[in-house]
């Protein structure tokens, strides 16, 4: 704390304290324009999105782990019939107007049976 000129730094601190007392938090005032959070979602959006997801799990009582094992089994079943890109298989809950839907999104590479005759 006390490096060069304790007298001076005390005085500076006094001014900063005084300034903060009248103006509120100083950093907020000065960094306001330069804040880097311009395109990151706001805390409000974060809360909304996370909450929507949590509530879908709460309401359906389908936990993320359960969803995961359903996904894995689904992959196995589907792979018996068609060749799919396993990494893109996405199973999730989606809020529709009045219900919650289980939505699977699967990119099919091609059919297992070689009926790609043409």
């Amino acid at each position: 704390m006390s490096t060069q000129g304790p007298q001076q730094s005390k005085l500076v601190q006094w001014w900063i304290d005084l300034f903060q007392k009248i103006s509120g938090p100083l950093p907020q005032l000065l960094t306001d324009e330069a804040s880097p959070t311009e395109d990151a979602p706001s805390a409000k959006e974060d809360a909304k999105n996370r909450l929507k997801l949590v509530l879908m799990h709460d309401r359906t009582q389908i936990s993320p782990t359960l969803l995961e094992s359903m996904r894995d089994e689904l992959v196995q079943v589907i792979c018996k019939y068609v060749e799919v890109d396993q990494t893109t298989l996405d199973l999730c809950l989606e809020q529709e107007t009045n219900t919650i839907a289980l939505v699977a999104n699967i990119s099919v590479v091609r059919s297992k049976e070689s009926n790609t005759s043409a």
């Binding site: 103006s23 509120g24 005032l29 306001d32 324009e33 706001s42 805390a43 409000k44 959006e45 809360a47 909304k48 996370r50 909450l51 929507k52 949590v54 509530l55 709460d58 309401r59």
Partner: protein, 275 residues
């Protein structure tokens, strides 16, 4: 006057603790009493009673609701009359017992008796969704769900709404959104009223701003809704509006936009200079 119709029984609940159930019970109840209705407030938070403190009636308690159901006294003996209004009273919780000292059936019996006398019976419920909650909702036909615009509170409110939906006796429930901060909403740091309504798909009963006058009032044992004069706090107005809506009046919702604090104005001055 015609014979009195049965009093309305309204439970105030939330799931999560500390979101403003007791504050809302005291203020909405006192607000309706202020309008002239006969109101009784029941504290069902057995072991953690607080409604008496908020009402400033803690020194007048002789008996409590457990004494009534265990027949150590008459219901009338346990009712604590408010010091400001003769048409308002409190049925206190027991402080030295636990939730199991009361059953839903006993609650119904007590409430039925009160319904003959009073226009409104407000039931302040404890936190949680176990027996205390079951006791509190047992006799109610309407519910007020209290939440703050925070994730954990909204999540718990959703759970409570799910439980209320399964209760046939509850014909109607509405949301009171408490501790709303216009400054944080403006900065996109807090969910606004519409966000919460959308997520919970519930009807709105009222919006209470974050207001230090609520704490001051609690310290004084005088519900904020009873402040008078021409410089009343915003929370006073907010609770009066809720009371009026419950009584059937069509009152517009509070505009949450507070006057810009001078620090903000100072900042915009800078921006203006730069532009």
């Amino acid at each position: 006057m015609a014979t009195k119709t049965e009093g309305r029984v309204i439970v105030v609940t939330s799931g999560k603790g500390g979101v403003g159930k007791t504050t809302s019970t005291a203020n909405i109840g006192a607000g309706l009493a202020r309008m002239g209705y006969k109101v009784v407030l029941i504290d069902t938070d057995i072991g953690l009673r607080n409604l008496d403190i908020l009402m400033g009636l803690e020194n007048r308690i002789v008996y409590n609701i457990v004494d009534v159901v265990e027949e150590r006294c008459k219901l009338n003996q346990a009712l604590v009359k408010d010091k400001r209004m003769p048409n308002l009273c409190l049925l206190p919780a027991a402080q030295t017992r636990d939730k199991s000292a009361l059953t839903p059936e006993q609650m119904k019996t007590v409430v039925e008796e009160l319904q003959k006398e009073y226009d409104f019976i407000f039931i302040d419920s404890p936190a949680g969704i176990e027996q205390g909650f079951q006791n509190a909702v047992a006799a109610a036909t309407e519910a007020i769900v209290v939440a703050t615009p925070e994730m954990s509170s909204v999540r718990d409110a959703d759970r409570i709404i799910g439980l209320l939906e399964t209760k046939e006796e509850i014909t109607n429930y509405k949301l009171v959104l408490n501790r709303v901060r216009a400054d944080m909403i403006k900065a996109n740091d807090m969910m606004d009223v519409d966000d919460v309504l959308e997520i919970l798909s519930v009807k709105l009963l009222g919006i209470i701003p974050e207001d230090q006058d609520i704490i001051i009032s609690t310290n004084r044992g005088e519900p904020v809704v009873l402040r008078e004069g021409d410089k009343i706090p915003r929370a006073t107005l907010a609770y009066r509006n809720i009371a009026s809506r419950i009584a059937g009046e069509d009152v517009p919702f509070l505009e949450m936009d507070v006057p810009t604090p001078w620090v903000e104005r100072f900042k915009s001055l800078f921006r203006f200079g730069a532009a």
